[in-house]
């Protein structure tokens, strides 16, 4: 007989030359469907799927898919439930005939139809969901005809429409715009075989807000338009966000090139679109002065401004400048200056500033008191404006030194989280928090890599807890002292209410079949499985003292991974607090470990966990060594509301990057369930 190893080696050639069962394009199409499903959220955000035909060249449906899968809604990047006061959106906020231009000198746009709602066709071939599905409360759409001058003939292969939408909050509007940006970055229009996403460029607008334009291409172009295959569709999109409103201009032109020396048509129309959109819209962040309030006017020298910072370990590297009004303030020190702008102090009445240098890390904190809450809010906005104005795209071909992102925070009465990340070494996290007439600014920077800046933001936000509590005390709303609630008193609710929706789904609920097993919700279901970090059992519900009487579990197992959830009610609020503190301590002391099973080290990270409640999101993936590492990990979100703690686990085969991208989805899911946990908080939520 021949050598079995030789036989074995030849087996690898067994299929050599065999036909491919499916073309790569079909496999990619399947991958696109998987991806959309993974990103689908919130069942019930229905989108009216409308028959194609209203647009002759690019027939597309509102969900942008061909398989009837659920439409996609955006992931809010910030949590903000404060409604924004505004006048009602109307047709008056749309671009007019005169403002809609095609600046080639020989053509123009004319209004064809205007109607309330999302209309009879999707506003873009990349649309994955209607504006209503994104959460808009009011929507108007206007379609334009392309008129060739001077004959006034209508050219049916060129399209322009504008859709405008009003959302409950400015945050919702930003989230919707973010979703639309995402669609445009990763799109395959129906019938297209290729799509090239262009870069978004910032377009200056005359009102508060942002505007971005993008030119993308896709094809092939219909043979009736381009019999020789030389054309592409040029899809130009402009997205304006102003307060709680969004406008999207979508223009589709088939052709061989798309060169505009004076700016593209959409770039030239966006300022007018923004101006129109802002008509009748009040400032979304204006805080009305609270009458009859005795605002604090002085800060105690004992104010715990350095709380949460590293403690003095006796090393020469530890250089602390204790809090004092005599220390240089952050604005004149240039510590709130970026991108040629500086924050402005509208007139603080007291201030404390402190700085700490520790090796390559630098920390600055400042607390300011203003005449009232309106002044404090103005200062907060001023800081936010500085960083919101930083470019996110190339400027004259030069990319920005830092990637700056500004998002609303979830602590204090109002807060912003600002991150600045270099493309290499260097990261900065800035938290700005207002409570009443007081604002604290916290800046931390170090030589961590830019891609981990959210870790820094998470840690610094958590380290601010005592400072924010002190601000609450200062305003007379604190819970410390003898008048506060007794956290060690027996909690009012210590069992899980019947029908608790532990199985809430972000997308359509999973269905049990041969590949998917669903257990619970039931007291006997394990839900989140025990886990260790650095050889210590993590403090999570069910992990230490299983207690069916006060617990509920739920799990979904499938080939794509494992989702587990456990909620447990503790005897007292203090018990739940202790659990969270222990968990945080465990995580802070563990950034890598090994299970001793031959796999590479597990790398532990924490993620932004803006659930609006006391929560932490963390997980691990395997280290990649010599380009090899197990593509697997586990992601957890643990949230406390009153005396109850909910843990959510997602285990699967994924990379570190994918885990980071998926974390906001899990945080959002946890937030939804946590909203149902208010029964465990004595004063509600």
């Amino acid at each position: 007989m021949s050598d079995p190893i030789e036989k074995l080696t030849r087996l690898g050639e067994a299929l050599e030359g065999a036909p491919m069962p499916l073309p790569a394009s079909e496999v990619r199409a399947r991958g696109d469907r998987i991806r959309r499903r993974k990103h689908a959220v919130i069942a019930g955000a229905s989108a009216a799927v409308v028959a194609a035909g209203a647009v002759p060249v690019v027939a597309f449906t509102l969900d942008g898919s061909d398989d009837g899968e659920p439409p996609v809604t955006p992931q809010p990047t910030v949590t903000d439930t404060n409604p924004v006061p505004s006048a009602a959106l109307s047709e008056e906020n749309l671009l007019t005939d005169e403002q809609a231009i095609y600046p080639n000198g020989g053509s123009d746009w004319r209004v064809r139809d205007t109607y309330p709602g999302d209309g009879q066709s999707a506003f873009s071939p990349c649309t994955q969901q209607s504006m209503a599905g994104l959460g808009a409360e009011k929507v108007f759409k206007r379609d334009f005809d392309f008129v060739v001058l001077p004959s006034e003939e209508i050219e049916p292969t060129v399209h322009l429409n504008e859709i405008i939408a009003e959302f409950p909050t400015a945050t919702d509007a930003e989230a919707a715009a973010g979703a639309i940006h995402g669609w445009l970055q990763d799109c395959l229009p129906p019938g297209a075989e290729e799509y090239g996403a262009g870069r978004f460029t910032t377009v200056p607008i005359p009102v508060d807000g942002t505007a971005k334009a993008q030119v993308s291409t896709y094809g092939p172009v219909d043979e009736s338009i381009d019999p020789f295959g030389d054309f592409s569709y040029f899809l130009e999109t402009g997205v304006v966000v102003s307060g709680d409103r969004v406008a999207v201009l979508t223009q589709i032109v088939p052709g061989q090139d798309y060169n505009w020396e004076e700016g593209t048509p959409v770039e030239q129309m966006l300022p007018d679109a923004a101006q129109q959109l802002a008509i009748g819209n009040e400032s979304p962040t204006e805080v009305e002065p609270s009458d009859g309030t005795d605002w604090p006017t002085a800060l105690s020298p004992d104010f715990p401004l350095t709380s949460g910072w590293p403690e003095d370990d006796g090393s020469a590297e530890f250089q602390l400048t204790p809090p004092s009004i005599d220390n240089q303030a952050m604005i004149p020190a240039g510590e709130l200056t970026a991108c040629d702008q500086s924050a402005t102090d509208p007139g603080s009445v007291d201030r404390l500033t402190t700085r700490l240098s520790l090796g390559s890390s630098a920390y600055v904190r400042e607390v300011l008191l203003f005449a009232d809450d309106t002044e404090a809010a103005r200062f907060l906005d001023s800081v936010q404006d500085v960083y919101s104005g930083c470019p996110t795209d190339d400027q004259n071909g030069t990319p920005p030194t830092f990637t700056t992102e500004v998002g609303q925070g979830a602590i204090g009465e109002e807060s912003w989280v600002i991150t600045r990340a270099s493309d290499g070494i260097g990261r900065v996290a800035i938290n700005v928090v207002r409570v009443g007439n007081a604002v604290v600014v916290d800046v931390a920077s170090d030589e961590g890599t830019g891609d981990t800046v959210m870790d820094l933001a998470t840690v610094t936000r958590e380290n601010l807890a005592d400072v924010v509590a002190a601000l609450n005390d200062l305003q007379g709303g604190g819970s410390s002292g003898s008048s506060g609630p007794d956290l060690s008193a027996p909690a009012g609710v210590t069992s899980i209410p019947d029908g608790f929706p532990l199985d809430l789904a972000l997308s359509e609920p999973p269905v049990e079949d041969g590949e998917t097993t669903i257990e619970g919700p039931d007291a006997d279901v394990a839900g989140v499985r025990p886990q260790t970090a650095c050889r210590a059992a993590l403090a999570m519900p069910d992990a230490e003292r299983p207690d069916a009487e006060h617990e509920l579990g739920y799990s979904v197992s499938s080939v794509e991974g494992y989702e587990g959830r456990t909620i447990r009610a503790y005897p007292t609020v203090q018990d739940a607090l202790d659990l969270m503190e222990k968990l945080r301590t465990q995580l802070m002391g563990c950034d890598r470990d090994s299970e001793g099973d031959g796999l590479s080290d597990r790398l532990w990270r924490t993620f932004n966990s803006d659930t609006g409640y006391d929560s932490v999101t963390f997980g691990y993936t395997y280290e990649v060594v010599d380009n090899v590492g197990a593509p697997a990990g586990q992601l957890y979100t643990v949230v406390r509301v009153g005396n109850a703690v909910l843990a959510v686990e997602w285990s699967g085969e994924y990379s570190a990057d994918y885990q980071a991208e998926a974390a906001p989805d899990q945080v959002e899911l946890t937030r939804l369930i946590a909203d149902e946990m208010c029964v465990f908080a004595a004063a509600g939520c």
Binding site: L8, G12, A14, R30, S600, S655
Partner: protein, 170 residues
Amino acid sequence: MEAHEFDELYAASFRRITSQVYAMIGNLDEATECVQEAFARAWANRRKLDRAEYPEAWVRTTAYRLAVSRWRRTRLAKRPVDRAVGAATETPGIDESHVALVAALRQLPQAQRQALVLHHIADLPIHQIAAEIGVPEGTIKARLSRGRTALAALLTDETNGGLAGGMSHV
């Protein structure tokens, strides 16, 4: 990963991975479907897959896990519709000697079979197999040694009239 890069990876490695997974699980149709599904997932995860992380190894591992998962659920004949990328696959005929070899492989313990396939068909060095499977290198060496011996014995039995043998079955 851009579409053309994916298409190149698919064209270059689909058959190779399929034959490897086929050798590991012994069912060509199932191997073909699992590799297709794994490629679809690779495309779905294209932005997260660092190209330096051996995309081919990722696809192979995913396909193999899918196959094992299906086998565990004894659902080989009732594949859910949404798992299928397209129409039922039509796999080419396999040489008889290959069938015999795969039959012999199937009689090996799963761990030995996997090590043999990854080393001798996928041509991976031992340290990379150890990383891919997640066990120490010494364990891989031992599995390879035992697997070669067992395979030789099985093929000798085959020559002598059959595939009878007392190897444990997975």
